[in-house]
């Protein structure tokens, strides 16, 4: 009975829970309720993943209306994998949230804050679950609006301008997507993704379809923070509350990558893919190198990680650019692994912010000895970010390099390796300041972060190590997902 409605419950449960959370009083109660909701979501998402892992597809008709007229939730391995990432990150972030939110958010806003987190979760899960392009737009806006609110909750006043900037860029992106959807609807008269795929094939040469495609790709690229449309991202990640940096860095852009894959490969999936693959490759190459260089010169740890995120997203875009089975597998695996490493890193930085009150690197001096657990978390997650063998980051880089070699693209292989070298520099920068610099004498003793912050961080750090050895879940599921995308090009 439940299994039948699994795909819908994943969206409906947090949706109903959000207004309830908003009405709960105090600090603990809304937190506890949100925590239980995210764990239920994780349970449902893992269940859903276990059902479709073997390559089967769940099709759920909303309200009993048969597709393509009604809205269809169509779950294959790719949706289930991304939904699992989102739910898992939410479930790990929430235990972390209690102490961090107590410190950063005033009490009267706490319940609303958690309600906004749940709404953001609804949006992200909804985007992943739905098989209807307009429904996708609506969920995208739900998640975006709630994330603007969440970013604006940051302590510094620059959080407000960061949220405003993101609101403007995000709305332009979403409106572009809306224009694109309108144009392809005008051509085909349908909104269902699979139906669109069928009906677009014979009219692929129409100029309206081309225009719609361009609007859709640019719109999603804004949400994806694809270089050079990434300008909103560094401020948004830097000034938002620690919990939100963790949650958004690990989920929001990943979901945007999913939308891009769905739109380009499921909805359009033909001659137009060739056009985008050149664009993705060029932007990917530039996007790996330039943001990595910017990351090296940052003086704020969160901003450094934000620039590194843009570079990592560019790796995913490179994988899409290959448009091959290996390339897309690398993209999906990196979506998963990057969520793990960036989640862990932002959590560790959040733990330092909890103790020190600032994420500026100058305040990190000598902290490595005083906060050894936090420091080693940063070290291991940093190694994963670089792509050292034995960590999750290595697996995705490995597949990406394989994909590049398969197409004998030496330039891109070189770029991927160069990106890793640059990552060594910026990760080393944090390590050097934290471990090898003496503690300034003016600073009072700093204690290790509380256990409720450390345990979630270490859960993600261990996941980084676990998925560095066990590739069954990541690579196999990603492989199944790519096979279902029907990529035939080499």
């Amino acid at each position: 009975m439940i299994e039948q409605h699994l795909s819908l419950l994943l969206v409906v449960i947090p949706l109903i829970a959000a207004p309830v959370t908003a009405m709960l009083p105090g600090r603990r109660l809304p937190w506890l309720f949100t925590l239980s909701v995210t764990w239920v979501c994780l349970l449902l998402a893992s269940w859903q993943l276990s059902v479709v892992m073997n390559g089967s597809v769940i099709s759920y008709e909303l309200g009993g209306w048969a597709p393509p007229w009604g809205i269809e939730y169509r779950i294959d391995a790719m949706n289930a994998l991304v939904a699992f990432i989102v739910a898992a990150i939410a479930a790990v972030t929430l235990p972390y949230a209690l102490r961090s939110v107590e410190k950063e958010i005033p009490e009267y806003q706490t319940s609303l804050f958690y309600a906004a987190i749940l709404l953001c979760l609804v949006g992200l899960l909804g985007i992943v679950q739905t098989g209807d392009v307009f429904n996708l737009f609506v969920f995208l806006e739900i998640s975006s609006l709630s994330s603007y609110v969440l970013i604006a909750m940051g302590k510094q006043r620059r959080a407000l301008t960061a949220a405003y900037q993101y609101l403007i860029m995000g709305t332009i992106g979403a409106t572009f997507l809306l224009i694109g959807i309108g144009l392809i609807y005008a051509e085909t008269g349908t909104l269902n993704m699979l139906d669109l795929n069928q009906r677009l094939q014979p009219i692929m040469e129409h100029r309206t379809v081309h225009t719609g495609f361009a609007f859709i790709v640019v719109g999603i690229a804004l949400k994806l923070a694809l270089f050079p449309l990434h300008l909103w991202l560094p401020n948004a990640y830097t000034y938002s509350p620690s919990v939100i940096s963790v949650f958004l860095a690990a989920t929001a852009t990943k979901v945007a990558v999913y939308i891009m894959l769905r739109m380009v490969f499921t909805v359009f999936s033909s001659s137009l893919v060739v056009l985008t693959s050149y664009m993705f490759l060029v932007l990917g190459i530039v996007g790996v190198i330039l943001p990595s260089i910017s990351a090296i010169f940052q003086t704020d740890a969160k901003r450094l990680l934000a620039y590194s995120s843009i570079a990592q997203i560019s790796y995913m875009v490179l994988g899409m650019g290959f448009a091959s089975v290996l390339g897309l597998t690398a993209t999906l695996v990196h979506v998963f692994n990057h969520a793990l490493m960036k989640g862990a890193l932002f959590m560790a930085i959040g733990a330092i912010v909890y103790r020190v009150g600032s994420s500026r690197l100058e305040n990190f001096q000598g902290l490595g000895r005083q906060m050894p657990w936090t420091f080693s978390a940063i070290l291991i997650a940093g190694l994963s970010l670089i792509g050292i063998p034995g960590t999750a980051g290595f697996i995705s880089k490995w597949y990406l390099v394989l994909a590049a070699l398969e197409q004998q693209s030496w330039l891109i292989t070189g770029v991927i390796l160069l990106g890793s070298l640059l990552a060594v520099i910026y990760v080393w920068k944090i390590v050097e300041i934290m471990f090898f610099r003496p503690v300034p004498e003016t600073v009072i003793e700093v204690r290790e972060a509380p256990a409720s912050l450390l345990i979630p961080t270490w859960v993600l750090v261990s996941a980084n190590l676990f998925f560095g050895f066990n590739t069954e879940l990541t690579v196999d599921v990603a492989g199944t997902a790519v096979r279902l995308l029907g990529v035939t090009a080499p």
Binding site: L145, L160, L167, I179, Y185
Partner: protein
């Protein structure tokens, strides 16, 4: 030629509004004007959808005797949703502008930038 200009005048209006709104968002430094620009930009998309749903000589999509040609109701329904989203975005954007005004004492982008840089 005449047909392209006058036969599709609704689409021309959409294009002009879209570009005007988009240009306002990009070029203006005043945060409220930017929101107004976003609004115009979104409204042009609403008009685009409504134009798509138009059927020549069609009536409102209500079943009644003597009428067989109806407008396509689906784009109208879609755009109702998009209007709600647009209202929410505007409300949130204006709320942020109020908070920015309280924090910085100005809503001009360059003055806010100067204040951030001078820290």
């Amino acid at each position: 030629m005449i047909d392209i200009i006058f036969g599709h005048y609704n689409y021309w209006i959409v294009v002009v509004l879209m570009m005007a709104g988009f240009y306002t968002v990009i070029s203006r430094g005043n945060l409220i004007k930017k929101i107004a620009g976003i609004n115009i930009f979104q409204t042009s998309v609403f008009l685009l959808y409504i134009s798509i749903g138009y059927v020549e000589k069609g009536t409102a999509p209500i079943i009644a005797e003597g009428y067989t040609v109806y407008s396509n109701p689906l784009p109208h329904v879609l755009i109702l949703t998009a209007i709600v989203v647009g209202v929410a975005t505007t409300a949130l954007g204006l709320a942020l502008v109020v908070r920015i005004k309280e924090a910085y004492g100005t809503i001009e982008e360059d003055e806010i930038h100067d204040q951030d840089m001078s820290l």
